[in-house]
Subunit: 354 residues, 2 copies
Amino acid sequence: MSATSTQVRLASYPVGEPQDSDFEFVTIELPEVGDGQVLLRTVYLSLDPYMRGRMSTAKSYAAPLRIGDVVLGGTVCEVVESRSPKRAAGDLVLAFTGWQTHAVVDARQTQRIDPSAPISTALGVLGMPGFTAYAGLLEIGKPKAGETVVVAAAAGPVGSAVGQIAKIKGARAVGIAGGPEKCRVLTEELGFDVAVDHRSPTFVTDLAAATPDGIDVYFENVGGPVFDAVVRRLNRFARIPVCGLVADYNATEQPTGIDQRPGFMRRVLTLSLTVRGFIQDEFVPTHHHDFRREMGEWVRDGSVRYREDVVEGLEQAPAAFRGLLRGQNLGKLLVQVGELPAPAIDSAGARARP
Amino acid sequence: MSATSTQVRLASYPVGEPQDSDFEFVTIELPEVGDGQVLLRTVYLSLDPYMRGRMSTAKSYAAPLRIGDVVLGGTVCEVVESRSPKRAAGDLVLAFTGWQTHAVVDARQTQRIDPSAPISTALGVLGMPGFTAYAGLLEIGKPKAGETVVVAAAAGPVGSAVGQIAKIKGARAVGIAGGPEKCRVLTEELGFDVAVDHRSPTFVTDLAAATPDGIDVYFENVGGPVFDAVVRRLNRFARIPVCGLVADYNATEQPTGIDQRPGFMRRVLTLSLTVRGFIQDEFVPTHHHDFRREMGEWVRDGSVRYREDVVEGLEQAPAAFRGLLRGQNLGKLLVQVGELPAPAIDSAGARARP
């Protein structure tokens, strides 16, 4: 059987905010499925801020996309055809096939999905964003009971998990988000102690009021002006896991004005701060096993909740990605690329094929 | 017996570089020695960059000096009179009596000095600067064999210990210092693999040539332009213990131009850097015992060497301190305030009084 795939390829490196013209839609004929390979049909595509970094040739931890490459990304796929004993048609798997409707890959490049949770969570709370929150907060942030943990982009998939894990550990969770609706979700649905709207003109004083005992852990995934306000509230020995700087990803010029690095380094010194950048891969060997067990329990027992923001159709991916960088999503942003598989799950937890 | 003390007091908070007029010399009559107290005669006064921070009301880890306070500092003193069973006249002790010739303090505020090493080392390689190097490098820097460790102010008491301990741990030691004489001392006397002169117009390319495999540990005690050059050479997972920023201590205005903090944070993220400020006190409970044992051995067997820069007379302290902030000293800067005690040491290692 041969199939076609509609793909979104990088047409040019974006300057500032990605434009539609930076992406090119093409439909290709896929190769035959070879020995050990599977043909996959994309159900969900994950959109994440790190993708912006790969659309740039600036030095980073990973090689940039080349012009003409399919844009990368994690996906939940259904196996359409298999020539591997590891997978059967109808299996649902986690893959990294990117912005396209179908793909032929080695079966070893797929992972079976836990059938006891909704399949979309493999890209969110039980996937890379959830693991980023878990490993960064627990291994670098090390929150203690009674401490104050602050996280920005708190309504996103990483931030919302950070705040809820902080609560499980007995800390006070303060979420920063853009707009009253996100702030409402943080306190009313996700259990944050308090939410602060960074778009409010009173943000700086609101943050101070929300952190009367200062800040012990700041989970940094945003950068920009939010960071300035946070830095002033840090306590001695505060920890700052740095996993993203989405506010700066579209920057095209170095900012000018006051050079804030010397002042920041002075605070690092006088407050004995720990600032630690990380990419979640680093912690997979040491922490992923515990993550699967603990986070799975927390999601099942409701102590960690999650929100999803699903847009339909691969053609929506460029606009949705732009919105992500502007902070327009509430919860994990997913593109539903293809039909959902039949939801039947038998009593043993294994999927029954129709 | 009553005694007088000549004291150097803070007359005004310095703006920029400390001026003679920021200090006031007074001679006072000391109180009688009370129960449990000792009268001390200062032999050596230590001058250290951290003192500049205490001459400022900017928020820091320690309260600032008040106008009229005796300027603080570690000292090596001889006990002149004792009303404590813990100390006897003639004992040599480490104290924190500051910029003055004599003082009356509780005997509990003094520590007996190891009689097997020259007494001045209690303020240098076997004292606070040596411990700063030891704890910061081993606990935060964690150098591994074959890695590259870079330290600035490398001819100073902290930097020279950092480089030599790095060598003991099998790392490559690169020292940054100002001027050819300091650089010569680093490689010819202190065992650094290579020295780079930050005053040279070719400093940036010299540093690159000196670190062909990048930088794994940068022990930061300087700040300023040296840091810019170092940041470009950092490897993934590099560690930056931050114990001082002497190049910025006299700054009176926030620097302007390009705001380098966002770019720095981006490197923290993409290179998974660890940046950790510290004050050595934090590590005393956990590391000081090992420090005394290991550093004592290393100094005795010659694997850690040290240089001292001694100026004579308390009246020289303000000018010497200015020179310290400009980087003029080579090795540990000490003021010899009073006569040295007779050097006789008997065969058991106990001091024989003349």
